[in-house]
Assembly symmetry: C2
Homo-oligomer: 388 residues x 2
């Protein structure tokens, strides 16, 4: 397996940014990543764009349109879509293209426009309902419903409490308050979470990630050519991807994250105990509790206690979502995965100021997408390592 | 570069098939390809799905939904989109994944549903208008308009005649009449083409490809593991991809096909004179005339004479679109690229009956997608060789 480095990162702020289109968002993030890498547009040999909802101004070829803003044209550009996991998918395809040995330098861009002055916004948002309209979507089985049912099951099975679930939002909004690029930069109390407007019992508004716009870009290269660039690189120890198997588990507990994480740990030659920090897919507070367990940070069923006791805090056993996560940093679908990678890279470089994780050496990203049959359509995990 | 074989192919008929959804189309084509390869679902290690328009019953994760019908789950599944070139893009990503050495067997599926009993059909079709609504789409500059303007320019510049352009439709509908999977299986006369309903001068209805549904699947593997499968393999000599550079040429003549073809010929170590047959992107009759020139089958400006004199017939200098092409076989966007590959594979195997190209040894596929700035968003070319 070829050693691959990430040599440059760039991202916009995440938030509701209706006046900025795909072009404007991409221009900022792509130029930011090129500058961070010390790279020129002509250095990029192949590119991948992850986006799901298709903005009205880019109904097709979002990658071509976005990258043209930075003068990146002519090269192979592939648009990938895997719901909320589109962006990590783009980064993984870029990594795989470099693994082929046919390319030396690749770029992955994740971008999403979910707010728009156009009336299409509602139509776009209605597509977030679920991957399988025939199976679940037509019965109203949308993501908040999926996770609320799974949460109730977990509470019954393991004694997880409503307060433990809400603590995830308190933690992540605290982290967000330390992140100048986060959509929400204000702390919230446990009471505020518990008293926020109900969505699907037991989940309230503050248990749910927001609607967001944003763009994040990653530049990767073979380790052997990294000297060409002036950015501070990190090593990609693993890039793993698994899709759902749709076992219709009665506890609404699929194993796709476990399988993807296992592949990532095996590829990296390490285990959950080696992970100092992780950016995980907290589309809902309860989802993050599942992820602690599925990623091996704590035993099955103990996720509620783990977050309650501070195990996921900055300075805890493994800092989870130091960026604020999807809940507070935001969730512009295609941009989320590359955004997680941007956070880990900055943490490994020691550039995160008030939210810096001490002694950050090895980080993990976990990004999923698509709900059907009570399972996840795709999960992608990266393991990144500081280069000393 | 690793030697890659195509070991199995499968496809549905192309046509207006409103009662068949993505699931039904995929079931037929995926099982067909697995059977053709002598492969089991569990043999597939990684998969790519090319589709553009997103059917109402698969608003997300089309690959996962389609492949589940054949019991293919759990593996990395990536959905790619590049307008009319989505399907070839999926095949190329599968090829690239095998080039990484991390996988041995890959599957690429292209599928599209453009007819549907739902009212969303019009909404879907409106997205075919162009990649860049801000630039051209909002001014009504849709594909038929693009090609009609380019055709008029070519007629003025080179003396190409209306009859020469129409001859492409006569040829391809003749080929379609010999193809049991084609959407249109009836010959047409030159008069019928010239008298068909006007769309955008000088192009009439019979100069334009139809709205179609369909699915086509390709199974690829490393040459070193092909012995595992009983299908009759062909060798992939090249898989090249280029995107547009948007030079705003006054003749509306971009060079993306030329650049992609050059990369394909260089990768394969051969030239246009070595090509026995080609499946090219005849979205409009005039487009095929451009392709003869851009692919090097004749000199620039001589495409009209080339088709008029029979150079592109079965038995001619290079049989172009022996399947009937997009014009007669049909154009279910994502399925078109893999469908072209299915035709070349069957031709190289000698299985094409009345439309068999004599002495078919080396074939080329050419599949493009997306119009903006008068250029093409993406072009992908494969060179396939008979294994003696």
């Amino acid at each position: 397996m070829r050693e691959i480095y990430i040599v440059g990162i760039g991202m916009t702020r995440f938030g509701k940014l209706p006046e900025l289109g795909v072009r404007e968002l991409a221009e900022e993030a792509v130029f930011g990543a090129l500058k961070d890498a010390g790279a020129k547009p002509a250095d990029i040999e192949i590119a991948y764009c992850g986006t799901e909802a298709m903005s009205p101004d880019t109904p097709m070829l979002p990658g071509q349109i976005a990258l043209e803003q930075a003068g990146i044209t002519g090269i192979p550009i592939t648009n990938v879509a895997n719901a909320c996991g589109s962006g990590s998918n783009a980064v993984r395809e870029a990594w795989l293209a470099l693994q082929s040995g046919l390319y030396e330098v690749a770029l992955a861009i994740g971008v999403e426009k979910l707010t728009s002055p156009s009336p299409d916004q509602f139509q776009m948002l209605s597509r977030l309902g679920g991957a399988d309209l025939m199976l679940e979507g037509s019965m109203g089985f949308f993501p908040p419903g999926v996770f609320s049912m799974a949460a109730l099951r977990h509470m019954e099975q393991y004694g997880t409490t409503r307060e433990q679930i809400a603590q995830v939002a308190v933690k992540n909004n605290y982290h967000g308050s330390l992140n100048p690029k986060a959509q929400y930069q204000k702390q919230v109390t446990l009471e505020q979470v518990l008293n926020s407007r109900p969505v699907s019992y037991p989940l309230n508004v503050l248990d749910c990630c927001p609607i967001s716009d944003g763009c994040a870009v990653v530049v990767l290269c073979g380790a052997d050519v990294a000297k060409r660039f002036s950015g501070r690189p990190v090593r990609v120890r693993a890039a793993a991807q698994r899709s759902g198997t749709y076992k219709d588990d009665a506890n609404l507990r699929a194993d796709t994250t476990q399988r993807a994480a296992r592949e990532a740990y095996e590829m990296a030659g390490l285990g959950p105990g080696d992970i100092d920090l992780a950016e995980v897919h907290d589309c809902f507070t309860f989802a993050e509790i599942q992820h602690y367990e599925d990623l091996g940070f704590c035993k099955m069923g103990e996720g509620g206690r783990f977050v309650e006791e501070g195990g996921a805090n900055i300075g805890g056993q493994v800092a989870v979502n130091p960026s604020g996560g999807l809940l507070a940093k935001g969730h512009p679908l295609g941009a989320t995965g590359p955004g997680q990678i941007c956070e880990i890279v900055q943490q490994l470089r020691g550039e995160c100021g008030d939210r810096q994780v001490p002694n950050a050496r090895i980080g993990l990203t976990h990004n999923g997408g698509g709900f059907r049959h009570g399972d996840t359509g795709i999960v992608t995990c990266f393991v990144l390592e500081k280069i000393s």
